[in-house]
Amino acid sequence: MSAIAHVDGHEEDHDHGHHHKETFITKYIFSQDHKMISKQYLITGLIMGIIGIAMSILFRLQLAWPDHKFTVFEVLLGKFGEDGVMDASMYLALVTIHGTIMVFFVLTAGLSGTFSNLLIPLQIGARDMASGFLNMISYWLFFLSSVIMVLSLFAEAGPASAGWTIYPPLSALPQAIGGSGTGMTLWLVSMAIFIASSLLGSLNYVVTVINLRTKGMSMTRMPLTIWAFFVTAIIGIVSFPVLLSAALLLIMDRGFGTSFYLSDIYIAGEVLHNQGGSPVLFEHLFWFLGHPEVYIVLLPALGITSEIIATNARKPIFGYRAMVASILAIAFLSTIVWGHHMFISGMNPFLGSVFTFTTLLIAIPSAVKAFNYITTLWKGNLQLNPAMLFSIGLVSTFITGGLTGIILGDSTLDINVHDTYFVVAHFHLVMGISALYGLFAGVYHWFPKMYGKMMNKNLGYVHFWVTAIGAYGVFFPMHFIGMAGLPRRYYTNSNFPYFDDLADTNVLITVFALITAAAQLVFLYNFIHSIFYGKKAVQNPWKSNTMEWTTPVEHMHGNWPGAIPHVYRWPYDYSKTREDGEYVIPGQDYVSQIIPLQDGEEEMHH
């Protein structure tokens, strides 16, 4: 990572040599500069993403060709892949760690960490985060937790394998599955550190947004990206500590003989002493984070998309107030819908009714968002850059995945599709693929800001189209095998003859998955190649209004060379015209936030 940062930092050296002296270590490793930290988050996130996606390829191979022997299993899985046959417990471990890595390490830290750090100071007009030091600690805790999570893969009895939701008693008892020994301990340690990292980061984002906005940047003039990051940070602060408590109690049950989640268990020929605990308690605690987590992953992606769609449509985002209101509504509702993961957990059915009600309510702000995106495109002048394609793709997968949520959120309908592939298809589309599209859109859009270079657009187009077709190719048919009643987390489906006719579809899905994964190599190549050899970026390549494009291309400490500019308008004055039909600034279809109102121009009362 430092090698990559090194090259792009060279330009910094000649241009800003006059800045206070920094050593290699303070500049590239223990940096307190938000731009460097954001790159660190991005690259760590991408590396974790490579691991997570590689795992999914392994288990997709197993699902498509359960009888086939794959050398790659033997090479990568060692004793769990002897003779090229994947061990059943290793399958569960792969599924577990894939979920954990993708949800927390890629889509929480990689997405929110990268872009909150990069954009919050730049878009609100601040020199840096409120506390650069805490920000640095936050990154290094994240790094540490990533290292521990990767190390857990090498645990003797296998990595954690109780599913990413680690429901006890399976996750609490090494007798129940090998991965619940050292593997699970490392998982819990890693996640505890991750939570600390996330909390430090989130507190910093909230404080920065509240306190460090430049003059004129009122809350209603903030770009939607900042609104999304701000609200995401708040949900994180509210819900992550609950996961920490859940994990702590689990650690106690595992190590100190307590019975928070365990009761009446007979396993491996003996009765355990535990009495009076309840796994349902864990489910409540877990999903109290787990559900808001979905929005922690998704809201930043939606924020990024709002910004990119407005910029590239050369139009204001439609219904700015409604967009902010729906972010707030989604955030609030997200904390009171967790029970829809537990309709059939043994929880009181009346609670199920309440959670159905709140869950279907959350569809309303989500629908408003989707409609507003579509209206923003209407009568625009769409500049179809790769970032824009990914943003449109996000709206598409968000709708497709969101709609099936209406089925899963209904307690009645959930009965028969719960824990089937229908659920897998639903959440991969609505939060996995959508958030990944948000991440890609963000990278393509802000790459010039991060590295001072442009990414190659043609490779970007190839990346998008193969990914878009592949993602639907993987997850659309998956709904159908779920409707057939095929449970998720099955090592092989060949033990039920009833599912024999689904085998071809599983092959199809795997083929699409392989193609889609291969397309990500195009992205990686483009990313790395562009860092070194990309075309040098101009200051404002996308002709955008937000403040980050008023800073010099070369990074500098403090972001703006002179005084921080003031803000005079909202960020969406694209294609705004005067009464005579001419643009507000003649010949230019955008007006940066730092440009004062022109003669006779009225500010939008948005």
């Binding site: 050398t71 059943a88 569960l92 599913g163 008693p169 399976l170 009761s263 009446d264 268990i265 007979y266 396993i267 349902v280 050369r314 139009k315 204001p316 219904g319 700015y320 957990s345 009600f357 279907l360 309303i364 408003v368 409609f371 495109l377 009568k379 625009g380 002048n381 500049q383 179809l384 709206v395 598409s396 709609l403 089925i407 209904d410 307690s411 009645t412 309908l413 009965i415 824990d419 657009k457 043609n458 878009a468 095998i481 057939a484 009643g485 449970p487 099955y490 090592y491 489906n493 033990n495 003859p497 009833y498 006719d501 689904l502 085998a503 190549y525 075309k535 969406y572 294609s575 279809d589």
Partner: protein
Amino acid sequence: MTVFLTIVVIALIGISLWQMSKILKLSQAKGADNSQVANDKDNNLQGKLMLAFVIFMYLLTIYCFVQYHTFFLPESASEHGIEYDRLMIISMILIFIVQFITQGLLHFFSYKYRGNKNNKALFFADNDKLEFIWTIIPVIVLAGLIIYGLFTWTDIMNIDEEEGNPLIIELYAYQFDWRARYSGEDNVLGKANVRFIEGVNTLGLDASDSYGMDDKIVNELHLPVNRKVIFKMRSQDVLHSAYMPFFRAQMNVVPGMITEFSYTPILTSEEMRNSEFMVEKVATINKIRKEKSKQLIVAGEEALETYEFDYYLLCNKICGTSHYNMQMKIVVESEEDYNTWLKTQQTFKEQLSAQASN
């Protein structure tokens, strides 16, 4: 061989990367426009691709429905399942209408308004009426769905032991199998706890509870048709989930507590087996199995058995290594057949005395 293949694959990846960088260089040298920002040509092509993409999506949807219609579960074999299926169909139709319209608009606008130097975007930031309309429509539609769903949910989950002489059966889950315990003549299950597990008493029945003496423990679930069944579920070790897809029934099995689910089976195994849907489905499956068997025989292995449909219960909550094969057969039959079958099963008391005499 595999080493060779690996080398070939690595070489191919190398070549493709090399080629890609060449394309990159060529594309850079060719045009004067090297800004890497979309120009009119890009907008034009990408806009058209957007339109093509939504057509791809429509075709994919149609293909999936045509190709995979046999994947859907057959008509419900339980009473409440009919209501379930109706709600499902309504929701599905609704979803596909919304999906069709919104995806169409999204991609069509992306195509129609693809950028051009000479075009001007419309400054259109707000419209309260429009926003009100598309807030209120989902509110009304969802309210309808919620109310309908909640009525059905309450009906399904309201388990009343007093009403209509239900049959009480315990479903007992452990790594990695199921047992069913019939409550016997008295229709009351004897007390049980894992602490009583010993010898043949694998379900931990309390031997001092007389209600338990006539209980019958079996590993195949038989149900009389048209009689309400109440399942009381217990787990011995970790979380499991009793999933009976043909009956639209599922409930987690939680160690330390008793969970319940209830339904009335309305189609016997025989009726389901002979239904048009199932005959066709089983024929397809057997064709696939025959093909596979041919390969197996060539490889010197045993051929697969011919498949005959039976209802099943499977575990649907990750529970350990053999989670994927934790199943139990369910037989729904006439009242007489059920009674005949039940008579042949040993009571708990008989099991205990058999153990004692050994």
